[in-house]
């Protein structure tokens, strides 16, 4: 079956996936120490939406519930959703672009760079919020982009960027940044816990301001990445022939690298290093639906959002919170191994 034969089915499934994602956002908002009913959670959120709010008519929930849903739970849930979307769609794009199933969103050193930036900020004691963004977040974002820039500069030869050089430079720069983090930790033993926690990845301390920046950046980035699905398909079948099929290989790669880097840097700087999402979600989609990027990219996005919401909801259930970055691997790895065993097909 070719893609066009299944296009209608995919479109319906995609809409179903989006609805499931929205539904999970509401469900997740009911879960936690305070008991809030599904209807109440839904109403509290719907009231804030334009148009829909007025349709609900006279109705009011308890003020505390409203505060809990809107200010405590919702920013975090939304952050988990978009970060899941961003990491997973970038993972999918990188795996195709590098024709390497092991590529993940952090393969170019973004995570280590961000962690280095965050560590420096933490060591300098700059943990207070600056206008709701946090200096740690700002430092992480700047260092993340700086790292990718260094990796690009190393890998570039003239106008061409070699994939192998990018991956190798990414690994090297990544190790270098990690070693600097270790030095910082050894020299500042009192900060080790904080740095370690940051690196485990969590969306627990996210602010509305951060969420409101994350959402447009990630959604826009995801849409742009999905534009290039057909070009990526052609690049995967052979970079040599891509140009004579009308794909500006180098330009496509550059645009994607820049967009992906910004998306990942935005994710990692607010949440720390949440691993594995960008690896397992795209591969899961491929194992189910095949590796056509017109399917893999959008479905990875939705799947990543769903997966991270579920993980984060579990993460905040116990009294002592476990970072979501730990849970993604803890639940993700066995699940992924099980589908891998069931379905041993070649994947890119």
């Amino acid at each position: 079956m070719s893609f066009i034969d299944k296009k209608k089915k995919y479109r319906l499934l995609f809409i179903a996936g989006l609805l499931l994602l929205l539904f999970l956002i509401v469900i997740s908002a009911t879960i936690g120490a305070a008991h809030i009913s599904l209807m109440d959670a839904f109403r509290i959120m719907a009231k804030k939406l334009p148009f829909v709010g007025s349709l609900l008519g006279e109705w009011s929930a308890s003020e505390t519930h409203e505060l809990i849903v809107l200010n405590v739970r919702l920013p975090r849930i939304l952050a988990a959703a978009v970060i899941g979307i961003g990491l997973s769609v970038v993972g999918a794009a990188y795996q195709s672009m590098f024709v390497n199933p092991m590529a993940d969103p952090y393969v170019l050193g973004v995570s280590s760079g961000a962690a280095l930036g965050a560590s420096i900020a933490i060591v300098l004691g700059a943990e207070r919020l600056a206008g709701g963004f946090g200096l740690v977040t700002a430092a992480a974002f700047i260092f993340a982009l700086l790292t990718v820039f260094i990796v690009f500069s190393i890998a570039r030869t003239g106008a061409r960027i070699s994939s192998t050089h990018l991956l190798l430079a990414g690994v090297a720069v990544s190790f270098f940044a990690t070693s600097l983090i270790s030095v910082l930790m050894v020299l500042n033993r009192d900060r080790i816990t904080k740095i370690t926690y940051w690196m485990m990845g969590s969306v627990a301390y996210i602010t509305w301001k951060q969420v409101l920046i994350l959402i447009p950046v990630i959604i826009l980035g995801t849409v742009v990445i999905c534009f290039f699905a057909r070009d990526l398909n052609i690049i995967v079948t052979g970079e040599e022939g891509a140009k004579s099929l009308g794909v500006e290989v180098e330009a496509v790669k550059k645009v994607l690298l820049v967009v992906c880097s910004i998306v990942v840097a935005a994710c990692v700087s607010v949440s720390g290093v949440i691993g594995f999402v960008g690896l397992i979600i795209p591969h899961t989609i491929r194992l189910i639906a095949g590796s056509d990027n017109r399917v893999v990219l959008p479905f990875s996005a939705v799947g990543g959002g769903i997966f991270l919401i579920i993980c984060d909801t579990i993460a905040r259930m116990p009294t002592s919170e476990i970072p979501v970055g730990v849970l993604t691997s803890m639940f993700g790895a066995p699940y992924f191994i099980s589908i891998l065993l069931r379905n041993k097909r070649k994947v890119v």
């Binding site: 079956m1 070719s2 024709v99 040599e240 140009k243 009308g246 070649k346």
Partner: protein, 264 residues
Amino acid sequence: MGQQSVSYPINVKNINVSFGSINALKNISLCMEKGRFYGILGPNGSGKTTLLKSIAKNLKPQRGAVFINGADIGKMKAKELSKELAYMYQNTDTQCDYSVTDVVLMGRNPYLRRFQTEGSMDREIAMKAMKATNIWQLKDRRINEISGGERQRAFIARALVQDTDIVLLDEPVSHLDLQHQIEVLDIARKMARKQRTVVAVLHDLNLASTYCDCLILLKEGAVIAQGEPEKVLTEEIIEEVYGIKLYIVRGVNNNRPYIIPFKK
């Protein structure tokens, strides 16, 4: 008459390609005409693929330029070029699991806008190409699960679907059995008869002699001989280029030269 104003479909002007200290192509100039089937021949490492890649803008020559219908390909956008020229490369190994139909349909990419999906006309064209290359029965199979020869035919179909005036084929028959070698070369010759310019890198001198209108023989990055098979495939030239002893049988094979090599 008016030689200056004629723009050949393919015009290679003094191109030089080197990889490090190795000169892969040494100042090569060639003109290729409409409606002819060209065969590029030569021993391993003589620059056949490099020449084809240079014409396909896959490699940028250090010196010289390639013109397609009078336009410098160095200044053409990929999309423009892809409507003029289709290129089937040598290594069709792939790890991806797209369906054969989806791979063939990629040949329609030059004509699609970014958000457009292939329409019924594109599917019609793809079906014709797949039937012509004898892979229609494989349409729903995955490209990484079919044999090398089948995959090669799928990539030839993809090039056909592009519907270009120029078709470049790098060793299109290398993985094929005898029947399919003949079929593919028949298709290539038919395309040439439809006023296209077809250029194929070939290894089998006899197949080249049988099917091509014009041969280009390379050795160490330089053109040793070019022209009709009768002119290029002579004892002296082949002995010089390949370093083998041979007989040439004439009067069979549509009066094209037929080569029988033998050990010295």
